[in-house]
Point group: D2
Chain length 111, copies 4
């Protein structure tokens, strides 16, 4: 697993942009959302422990999916605007690799 | 929110079946999985805090979706085999209501 | 591939119910929708032939998915209300098999 | 609805790339797949007309979704490699607009 590489020197055409470090507001918002999702999962655990009705548990699972999707959507937008944009502007080989990565990411990730 | 109703007296044709109370093994397995999912979400929080690469974070989000889906799938199967089966056998009105609930549940829940 | 079995003699508890034959209105509506979907797919073919912008083509593909989902949803509801209800009332073994089939169907089908 | 704009003069860094016109092989493959999908939808129509078992019809609907997804996936890859790459290289404003469009496209389209 890799950390974001240190920002390279920016140029007019390729704004630095390495994701979350560029966007502290998004980072904070994402961290807050993940805390909330952690709480939702703990709530699910409690619901199962208390043997709550299946339909309720399944509905709560759907809410967690929805909340995760919202996080994923913002991170994907950020990824496109920063990492993907930088790679695509860096030349044809990195652009090509990034596009393949994006398609894989989307079809695996976006549900 | 409702707890499972107390099990009614079973008959040959309509096995009691009120979800998780009937199936302690599934309950334990589900609780263990939810603990693991909680850990995965905490891991996501850490990854965002450390500003790990977006593609990694998105891949990890996809894993959480997958793990939640697996929990949902088992609970849905159990719901069908117990609660839904009991409702469908209880008469036409509860059967009808249960079928509508199932369709909604599936289209909201299953992703 | 199987046709629907001929309707068995109904009883108070297990209404005949073998899907579409029981519900000519749904059958007609579904056939009309499928004709429209066929037209949408032909429209897609034309769009690709004319080299229309990718975003437009992808948006049109999303519409076809949506239209198919709507057909699937109604058929699933009908399947639950007729075939699944009949199987679940027919005894524990057919009920069990039907529930497994339903879970598979949902997780393969419902997107 | 827009046709693809006429190809602008290519530069070393921004290959022309306006989608399908650049890739006649993909265009042919996509057209052939769409013809096959049209046939699948006609097959669905026939199955409903003949009142085939719901589970079969639903399984066939799932196949059409799968086939459409495969078409969408290739077109999305092509869109990224051509149109999106061109827009992202054209400057910050078109890059930004394209990234927003991509996120919307993915979350609406990719299922």
């Amino acid at each position: 697993m890799n950390r974001h590489p240190p920002p390279s020197s920016p140029t007019a055409d390729t704004p630095i942009g390495h994701g979350l470090s560029e966007n502290p507001e998004l980072k904070d918002r994402t961290l807050a959302r993940l805390r909330r999702i952690e709480g939702q999962v703990r709530g699910l655990h409690r619901m199962v422990e208390e043997e709550r009705a299946c339909a309720e548990v399944l509905t709560q699972i759907a809410s967690v999916h929805e909340a995760l999707r919202a996080v994923g959507r913002e991170l994907l937008r950020n990824h496109l605007k920063h990492c993907a944009t930088a790679a695509i502007r860096a030349g044809d080989a990195p652009a090509d690799a990034m596009c393949d990565e994006l398609v894989d990411l989307m079809y695996r990730h976006v549900r």
